[in-house]
Amino acid sequence: MIRLIVVRLLFGALTLWAVSLVVFAATQALPGDAAQMILGRDATPARVEVLRDQLNLHEPVAVQYLQWLQGLVQGDLGTSYSNRLEVTEVLAKPVLSSLTLMGLAAVAATPVALVVGAVSALRRDRAFDHTSSMGTLVVASIPEFVVGILLILLLGPGGLGWFPSVYSREGGPDQWVLPVLTLAFAVAPPIIRMMRATMIEVLESEYVQQARLKGVDERAVLWRHAAPNAIGPVAQVVALQLAWLAGGVVAIEFLFNFPGVGKVLMDAIENRDVPLIQAVVLLIAGIYILVNLLADVIGLAANPKVRVANR
């Protein structure tokens, strides 16, 4: 099993490298050059020339890529064009905010989703199951920013007026409610479905029947025999949903004006701030790859066939 995990890890690193190549190549396609961008239109040619030297823009593209990659590995992401701060400095606080937002959404969504899924499985084909099945289908189909706007229309200033719809620095903790709720709605449906499907499969398995036949208390059947066997696939889906959050958070942050990486990305695109765009895209892709990898490893570890074989 360890060998399999190592192979996955190596492949993950390879993918990350390929992504860095794509991101670098994409930004090379930009018209104009970096020195001109940093100094603005009215810079003297002499100053542009000096900066071009400093940024190594005279070197061939491959050398530039290697230098950029070297900086990347050492944690140096370059300097933002728009405010001339280190990219790492610009990103520090937004990354923390985004991670908090995603964490809160995951913490809010996961337990509820697991309970709803499990109850659906136990009440299979009854009213609760049908309602939750229809509910997850409907919520899963709507794009998440549309869910956010519907929530704003319903609970925001124009509707019931319970929560503010725009994040501001002075605002209280209630401004977190709508973004967290939106993200929670976005991640919950697949978890509910997977929990339901896995629980049904487990409850119909021979070992659960066996436990029932030998007269074990129904609660013990559920918690000792059924639930542990359902954990693997469900944990995998939870991890995949977390990976999805890394990309999904952009539109939600834009909608609620939340100061996270998504907002930074949109602002960077607005200003054509290339180092910042590169950094944010790499960061999001990196988290996405890492969490997907985690999901893979969980899936492998939860599968007894893999766990026991070629140890």
């Binding site: 409907v138 189909s141 794009p143 229309l153 925001g156 499907a197 999805w244 790859i289 997907n292």
Partner: protein, 297 residues
């Protein structure tokens, strides 16, 4: 899977076309498919007929910005004072066209890759799948934003980026389906009589992966609608003064508290459209696999 569900009733069930027809008939048997068709139909109708029945032109000024209750307008004016109803009626077909084109191209390309990878196997399979894995490493929206921010929002680019991001996802599914099909005797028979490879792929394999193909098409269409809408919403899709539902939401969200219609109308339309498309997809997938959310009944 090899025997069509309606084999007993339909005497012409041997003809490949009837496999699709059987799938549709089974899917139509689910109540949710009909609801889905009704919802999707409603929104498509609005989007297609809308421009012909709109009371004004989409760029005509009829009210003050965000003004409601103006004579001659049903829902008032938008952020510039243009008629909200007119812009709503005009804004749908672009979304449908872009989403349809990107889903269609993406699924077609993904199918070609999937069938080739599944049938040829070996190094070609490895290369195609590894490239897919790299493409899959980008979240769909982030990939689209990266390209848009660098080359600039262009219509063909929106379609291309979404289609490319669909391709590896479709290819994986179709590859799996293909690997099951090539175990069948008729494929081995076709190989034995020496049919060229492309004919085996087009005539023997492709008709036998139509069920997962249709399900994928529905799924990718739902996602495409979402991505096209969200790009418009982020200001990275179609540019002003085009009337487009996603862009409309972006332009009018500042005035949401005073003029909710300019946001509520396109948002509702997008929600209804995606729900409808997903209901149809769900009906198709149930008909195709005869399973209920991953559990065999």
């Amino acid at each position: 899977m090899s025997a069509p569900v309606n084999a007993g009733v339909e005497p012409v069930a041997v003809v490949p076309r009837s496999r699709g027809a059987g799938l549709f008939r089974t899917a139509w048997g689910f109540g949710r498919t009909r609801v889905g068709v009704a919802l999707t139909g409603l929104v498509v109708l609005i989007a297609v007929v809308g421009p012909f029945v709109a009371p004004y032109t989409p760029t005509e000024f009829v009210a003050k910005p965000f003004e409601t209750g103006v004579d001659g307008t049903l829902f008032g004016g938008d952020n510039r004072g243009r008629d909200v109803l007119t812009r709503f009626l005009w804004g749908g077909w672009t979304l449908l066209l872009l989403a349809g084109a990107s889903a269609g191209i993406g699924v077609a390309a993904g199918t070609v890759v999937g069938v080739i990878a599944g049938y040829r196997r070996g190094w070609l399979d490895d290369v195609l799948m590894r490239v897919s894995d790299v493409l899959l490493a980008f979240p769909q929206l982030i990939a689209a934003l990266l390209v848009m921010s660098i080359i600039g929002p262009k219509v063909w680019l929106i379609v291309a980026v979404i289609a490319v991001s669909h391709m590896p996802r479709v290819a994986r599914v179709i590859r799996e389906a293909t690997r099951k099909v090539i175990e069948q005797d008729y494929v081995k028979a076709a190989e034995a009589i020496g049919l060229p490879r492309w004919r085996i792929m087009a005539v023997e394999i492709l008709p036998n992966v139509t069920s997962p193909l249709l399900v994928e098409l529905g799924l990718r269409l739902t996602y495409s609608i979402g991505v096209v809408a969200v790009l418009g919403f982020l200001g990275m899709g179609l540019q002003p003064p085009t009337a487009d539902w996603g862009l409309m939401i972006n332009e009018n969200r500042q005035g949401m508290a005073v003029q909710p219609w300019a946001v509520a109308l396109p948002v509702t339309a997008i929600a209804v459209l995606t729900i409808g498309a997903n209901l149809i997809t769900d009906g198709l997938s149930r008909a195709a696999i005869g399973i209920d959310r991953g559990v065999e009944k």
